[in-house]
């Protein structure tokens, strides 16, 4: 029971960190939308979809950040966070492994990181999202069980 209190607080902390990450990266992209699109146009595999993705990615990040704070959609938002970070990580791994041209690093503070560090950062946030899913589900299951007994 005591664990649940800690877990609940940790899930809030993880949501806070994911919100910081998503809002920061989304706003950074939106401030310099043309630059972001310019970078996407030079990325292997996704260049043809650059104009579409340059809007959709920050929009999706902001939606996920918002849903993380609505109790009803929290688990869904954590799943979405995990998947978005997972897709991005998988993309970086594929580019580094199979593409001839490695794109320039992304903008702002995170640009100080190399691609390998970027993967580590993503995996860390994916772990937070995964723990958030597990602990939120546990809490949800316990509450459902208590309500039915």
């Amino acid at each position: 029971m005591a664990n649940q209190g800690i877990h609940s607080k940790l899930v809030t902390l993880f949501s806070l960190l994911l919100t910081l990450l998503f809002v920061y990266t989304a706003v950074s992209k939106l401030i310099e939308l043309d630059t972001f699109q310019w970078r996407l146009e030079r990325m292997p595999y996704i260049a043809p979809y650059a104009s579409l993705l340059s809007w959709k990615i920050p929009f999706l990040e902001l939606i996920i950040a918002g849903l993380l704070w609505l109790p009803r959609y929290k688990i869904m938002a954590l799943y979405a966070s995990f998947m978005l970070l997972g897709i991005f990580t998988l993309y970086i791994v594929l580019v580094l492994k199979f593409s001839d041209s490695i794109p320039c690093s992304c903008g702002e503070v995170i640009s100080a990181l190399g691609w390998t560090d970027h993967i580590l950062l993503n995996v860390s946030f994916m772990v937070l999202a995964l723990l958030g899913i597990l602990w939120s589900k546990k809490k949800y299951n316990t509450q459902t069980h208590q309500n039915t007994t």
Partner: protein, 81 residues
């Protein structure tokens, strides 16, 4: 009451902080011209970001073709960290 207050305040604080941080770290894109040689078409010019220079471990490439500082094979073959 306190819990509700925190539930509203925490995300608001996180969002404000993230937006502030995004504006605070906004940097101007610095670009430079680079050149590559395409068989049959000669030297082509592209704009690249400024992390390519004479030093670094991996080659700066455009669609898998080495980039040079000038439209000349004798010029600097651009590299990046």
């Amino acid at each position: 009451m306190k819990a509700k207050f925190f539930k509203l305040l925490l995300p608001a604080f996180a969002i404000l902080m993230a937006v502030g941080l995004a504006f605070a770290t906004e940097n101007e894109r610095v670009t430079q011209e680079a050149h590559y040689f395409l068989l049959g078409q000669g030297w082509q010019t592209v704009m690249i970001e400024d992390d390519c220079d004479a030093t670094g471990q991996s080659p700066c490439e455009f669609n898998g073709i080495q980039l040079y500082s000038e439209p000349d094979f004798a010029s600097i073959a651009l590299r990046k960290p």
